[in-house]
Symmetry: C2
Subunit: 470 residues, 2 copies
Amino acid sequence: MTIPNLVNAFESIIGTAHVLVSDSDKAPFLVEWRDKFKGATPMVLRPGSTAEVAECVKLAAQHGLKVVPQGGNTGLVGGQIPNPDGSEIVLSLSRLNKIRHIDPEGYTMVVDAGITLQAIHDAAEKHDRLFPLTLASQGSCEIGGNIATNAGGTAVLSYGNTRDLVLGLEVVLANGEVWEGLRTLRKDNTGYDLKQIFIGSEGTLGIITGASLKLYPAPASVEVALVALDSPAKALSLFSLAKSHAGNMLTGFELMPQSGMQFVCEHMEQSRYPFEEQHPWYVLIEISAGTKDIDIASLTETIFTEAFEADLLRDGLLAQSKAQAADFWRLRHGLSEAQKFEGGSIKHDVSVPVAKVPEFLEEAIAAVKEAVPGCRPVPFGHMGDGNIHFNITQPKGADKAEYLAKWDDVNRVVHGIVASYNGSISAEHGIGILKRDLLAEVKSETEMNMMRSIKAALDPTNMFNPGRVL
Amino acid sequence: MTIPNLVNAFESIIGTAHVLVSDSDKAPFLVEWRDKFKGATPMVLRPGSTAEVAECVKLAAQHGLKVVPQGGNTGLVGGQIPNPDGSEIVLSLSRLNKIRHIDPEGYTMVVDAGITLQAIHDAAEKHDRLFPLTLASQGSCEIGGNIATNAGGTAVLSYGNTRDLVLGLEVVLANGEVWEGLRTLRKDNTGYDLKQIFIGSEGTLGIITGASLKLYPAPASVEVALVALDSPAKALSLFSLAKSHAGNMLTGFELMPQSGMQFVCEHMEQSRYPFEEQHPWYVLIEISAGTKDIDIASLTETIFTEAFEADLLRDGLLAQSKAQAADFWRLRHGLSEAQKFEGGSIKHDVSVPVAKVPEFLEEAIAAVKEAVPGCRPVPFGHMGDGNIHFNITQPKGADKAEYLAKWDDVNRVVHGIVASYNGSISAEHGIGILKRDLLAEVKSETEMNMMRSIKAALDPTNMFNPGRVL
């Protein structure tokens, strides 16, 4: 069938308005915000229901079309962008954007895949509940994409990754059937836990159209502090100290370097530097309690007192209001975007065992400075999970393209060090296109073959997101 | 190859002493403690290392032998017992019983699959850590079996099922290769999360030989209370009340009926009834805190005070010592075994949404009393997870065999009610042989086909635990 005929066929399923073919209509779906991946496609499909997704998949399968599912287009590894050769169609889930059901008593919510994370937060809050997944991109990312990539974020320490927050899924399979797996049970050992296979599979095994999610009590009290320290080693000691007092109530522990703090305060509106002096490292700490019975203010005070006594801190600020807490978090959440203003940035999303973070940082910073003299490392992130976004901004005044051409070489240096700590080359962003070749390098042939056999079992014609992950 | 030749071949891999062929040697592996499943086998293999397991699997594959992996033989659905026709060999993991590595700072432990759950508890405790999985059978069950069945137990409320406690696995695959997946990272999004496929797959996809596990801080303080109540509805209100004060520190909430309490106190050594009067229902509550900063004694007092004020309780006892806390837990853990002394018991392991437990119980108790006049329902278990072991003891003086012949009919009644609440017919025990036919009844053909395709992808010759689950 010719492209115009195919367009007509899809239009008859989902309506003329929802098959995008003009360049201007398609443009937002073909590039991601870091400009690293640019694609082309004959059409973007915007179905409005699970049944329409299934019909689109059936039609695509009939004609051997390859399908790239897309949520909020915030992915960082190219998984949601079609190939530049225009051989793939994009299927956007954004019109599936409803909350289907909230059960505050049962602490569950059932949603469409295309609803934004922020909309889920807002809906939970209305019922005095918390959906804990928290990302800088939460205003635009969609839960289907969060699930497909097993998103992490800043609350993993206490609540786990996205995988830990999903109770059930609805998925359109490669044969066009709909798997109705929207359970809300806390315990269910009836056969293989199929949802686990789709979580983190980056759209390569099926199209997630709905999800049932775990909710938590809305925090009754939250303390947010920003502290300045000498080194990641002191940050690690602070982490142990905070954890020993706050336990699971330590809900955030985010490391930031001086370089990143400067970039944010210089380039991001609404962000101003909160300390009087400059410091080499910072940590944002959040402690929160789900019930009113726990006095986290005094708990936080205990941690601060002991940390100063143990000489772990250079300075520290405890947020005195919700607005100030939001200011502190804005410094942290601005870190990714602020780097754009300083030129090219070579990025890594790695994890190592938590206790090894300081050693890893010392080694990796020295190695990249040697590899690219003048480069400016901006390692930041979820220290309490061992997950560091090891980004390296180009030397001042260097040519951006020339610098970014070193991407693979610098990756090799950093990932080599990660491997020596038995770490991960993709802690939370996934594989997509960006790290596909790398995956085969770091995994055994046995493991690659297991993944290939799962892929072949669920998507035998390689229709969904071909060439991503595997 | 004849059986004697095969025995020789296996002996050359794992040693003569570890291929069991005599009836007396094989006997303990061929029956489970409830006497529901009895099997036969030409031999029981007891390999002593992962490499030996892999060699045994290769040899078995060469000769088309079917293999039933077995851990501590505590499973309740027949998954670990070979068929009565003697067509399957048993592979016991019990000699793989070492702790490989403990990292108290990183809160992880790496173990062999055949180590008992109790040995893991003890090792963690030595380092002031907790491995939270807690089962009545923990002295004999083995972690490989716990993982293969995604065991639940009495601490799920706060710590999750076994799935939530596993960071990595080592698995011998159907082709005899060893998948080295023993990671200890908190975040790792490098391709499909393959360990999830094996967790809860009941030995049908591969043989788990090692696992890396999450540890938690040892509780700094624990409060255990036993309360008496009028009804499950009041127990549900008490659950909401306790949860609103204790949040995630509510680590246990176990419902027990009068019938079960009587059986335990009458038949189990070391168990005596702790109240002065009889009551219709009981709940065991455990509240624990990982840090010393939280005063759970006053928290517990608050809950008790409010519960009495709200007229939720008939009576209540707060354990005054560790010994008394252990006594209370012994009453709960004795419930399964105590039923044996009262004759036949028809069992269900079901879950419904937590808020629906009272309605479910009322309806199901009435239905089974109508189906089998004089029967004695003993529904008990993990009310906070919505998981009830809906067991029904035979009428007094009835013929045991005649009563047990009604198993399927009674199942149909109870599972029909479970279905009306969108519940699960196997919340934590799994499918095994016992519920295999039932599985196909309650799952869609789409879902069954997905499971079959996963099975075919990882075990194409149907070598591992054939006829279990699928």
